[in-house]
């Protein structure tokens, strides 16, 4: 009787695992919005970083969705002025998600590193029918520029962020000899180095990063 019972348990456990495996099985990821982005890091003359300037271009389907119902003087063309209310909605709702931008300062992830965005507006490209959201996130206090890491991702993966193919990251007003790396989750080559000088140490760049969908920017200044 005992061995029969043991078989029950094994059978039930197996069937449960099968069930759990089936419902879990497939991907959790479920993006509906694709964003191609370029990012600029803004430096003060003293070499500290004052903010992050984003330009996020949405995919054409989402751009159509986002612009529906918005009156335009010329059909299919939206001016910056016509898109102003939408830009406001965008930055307002992004606040809840911390602008999907996470700063690591001195090796620590700062939860509230940024003030509310400034200089924000939307552009519409009538040729490609895509929207681009521009906004600048000022750091609450200027961050020492020696070592900084910025990550951009949606933890729930409703939005798929990707760096632009060319020049995704720019350092604006940075001291000489700063090095920047970008790490794209979509790349086959896990790490791509976009170096401003030759003296960087690549081995430091890929230590301990868990966010598998995060687009990472790492900057090192002398």
């Amino acid at each position: 009787m005992h061995h029969i019972r043991a078989r029950h348990w094994i059978g039930i456990l197996l069937s449960l695992l099968a069930y759990a495996g089936v419902t879990t099985g497939a991907a959790e990821a479920h993006p509906h919005v694709w964003v191609t982005m370029t990012t600029e890091l803004l430096y003060a003359p003293d070499g500290s970083v004052t903010g992050v300037r984003h330009a996020w271009t949405f995919d054409d389907m989402f751009s159509a969705y986002a612009t529906m119902g918005i009156p335009a003087a010329t059909k299919g063309h939206f001016t910056r002025e016509e898109l102003r209310p939408l830009a406001q909605v965008n930055v307002d709702s992004l606040k809840e998600y911390a602008y999907f931008t996470y700063a690591w300062i001195n090796g620590r992830r700062e939860k509230k590193a940024f003030n509310d965005p400034v200089d924000y507006w939307l552009d519409y490209d009538p040729g490609k029918t895509v929207l681009t959201l521009h906004f600048t996130l000022p750091f609450k206090a200027p961050v020492p520029g020696k070592q900084l890491r910025i990550e951009v991702y949606d933890p729930e993966f409703f939005i798929d962020f990707q760096f632009a193919d060319q020049n995704p990251v720019k350092l604006v007003g940075a001291p000489a000899l700063c090095a920047v790396w970008t790490d794209k989750p979509h790349d086959d080559n896990f790490l791509t180095a976009q170096s401003l000088n030759r003296s960087f140490i690549p081995s430091e760049a890929n230590v301990g990063m868990g966010m598998s969908f995060a687009n990472k920017i790492m900057v090192q200044c002398p």
């Binding site: 019972r5 078989r7 029950h8 069937s15 449960l16 089936v22 419902t23 991907a27 959790e28 986002a66």
Partner: protein, 374 residues
């Protein structure tokens, strides 16, 4: 002996429920520290993801192309179909609710598959209705549409909570009833009455047909004396139903009254509405894009074809849930009361999952899809 067995049983029950909960995407999604965990890339997930991105882009491409080239509509339908299959593998689309619901109940695979298909069609219809009324007739903005979807979501999640609560009530009654009964059973066995150890779950699902109300029946059954085993009652319906549980069982299909009666469709209807009410965000975006391109009807057709693909994925998972349940029951169909108790415990656990999904979705801890952000 009885005490030790009972403790072991309790340990197993807790373990099994923990495994089920722990392995479930809805729970593991919360991550180790309660916060959202970024999804892992690679493996099947990474592949589905990559494919989904490719198809999503092909979708917009073929809608664009269809403006000048009518034959691109066929491409669009093909892509929509495949995208629907892939897309439904992600969270949402009622997979978790439907499969847990099926697991908690004794449903036939036919009903599981039908439930999946009808809910997918319903999701398509809701999406078309929202875009049709909102964007085409009223000229609504994305914000307004997002808010509308949010309201519908709250209703849908509320219904899932109610569905889960009802299941918990019914299945809890069965589980704790069986637990009590087992206590009496063990006592009588200790007195040397081994032959009474009939597994009451053998009969459990046939009552629906006989009495039409599953819940009331459970009650009636538990009021039964342990030694009073109604042979005719159990064995008459046993074979047909058991075979019908699995798709490869070549027995007759479900009787019409089984599907249509108060214990039939009525029961599945609540799950159907709860799941089917919520439109797929992907379909809404495709519809709006098609509208912007002046091809709304192509968008409508694409939405339905996408729904068909979704139904195939959800239906497959529903079939597996039904099969897993049937397997668990079959394994437990041994002349010991414990197996039956475990099945009831698992049903109770699955009912708890439906309830938990509803609560998590309603409170926003589990994001299914997000609209109206930008």
């Amino acid at each position: 002996m009885t005490g030790a067995a009972r403790i072991r049983l309790a340990v197993w029950a807790v373990l099994i429920i923990t495994i089920t909960l722990g392995a479930h995407p809805a729970w593991s999604q919360l991550g180790p520290f309660g916060g959202p965990r970024p999804p892992a890339i690679g493996g099947v997930a990474g592949w589905v993801l990559a494919e989904q991105a490719v198809f999503y882009r092909a979708l917009s491409g073929s809608i664009r192309l269809a403006k000048s080239d009518g034959s691109a509509l066929w491409t669009l339908m093909g892509i929509s179909f495949v995208y629907g299959i892939f897309h439904a593998a992600g969270p949402g689309h009622g997979k978790a609710v439907i499969s847990s619901y099926l697991f908690a109940n004794d449903e036939t695979w036919r009903r599981g598959v039908t439930l999946s298909f009808v809910s997918a069609v319903m999701q398509s219809l809701t999406a078309i209705l929202i875009v049709g009324v909102g964007a085409v007739l009223l000229g609504a903005t994305a914000k307004l549409m997002g808010d509308t979807v949010k309201d519908i979501e709250i209703v849908s999640y509320g219904l899932i909570v109610l569905l889960g609560a009802r299941l918990l009530w019914v299945k809890g009654y069965g589980f704790f009833g069986a637990l009590n009964k087992l206590g009496t059973d063990s006592a009588s066995r200790a007195a040397g009455l081994e032959r009474h150890a009939h597994n009451d779950t053998n009969c459990h699902h046939h009552h629906d047909r006989d009495h039409a109300h599953g819940f009331r029946c459970d009650k009636v059954h538990h009021a039964d004396d342990v030694s009073q085993h109604d042979d005719r009652h159990c064995h008459d319906h046993h074979d047909g139903e058991e075979l019908d549980v699995l798709p490869w069982g070549h027995a007759h299909g479900p009787e019409p009254e089984e599907l249509a009666g108060p214990g039939g469709w009525h029961r599945g209807l609540s799950a159907l509405v709860a799941v089917g009410l919520r439109p797929c965000s992907g379909a809404i975006i495709v519809l709006v894009f098609a509208l912007a391109q002046g091809l709304f009807w192509a968008g409508v057709a694409s939405t339905f074809v996408m729904g068909l693909g979704t139904a195939i994925t959800v239906g497959t998972i529903a079939t597996l849930a039904v099969s897993a349940k049937a397997l668990a029951k079959r394994v437990a169909h041994k002349p010991t009361g414990y197996g039956g108790l475990v099945v009831r415990g698992v049903e109770f656990g699955a009912a708890g999952l439906v309830f938990a999904f509803g609560i998590l979705l309603l409170t926003g801890y589990m994001a299914s899809e997000r609209m109206g952000l930008f």
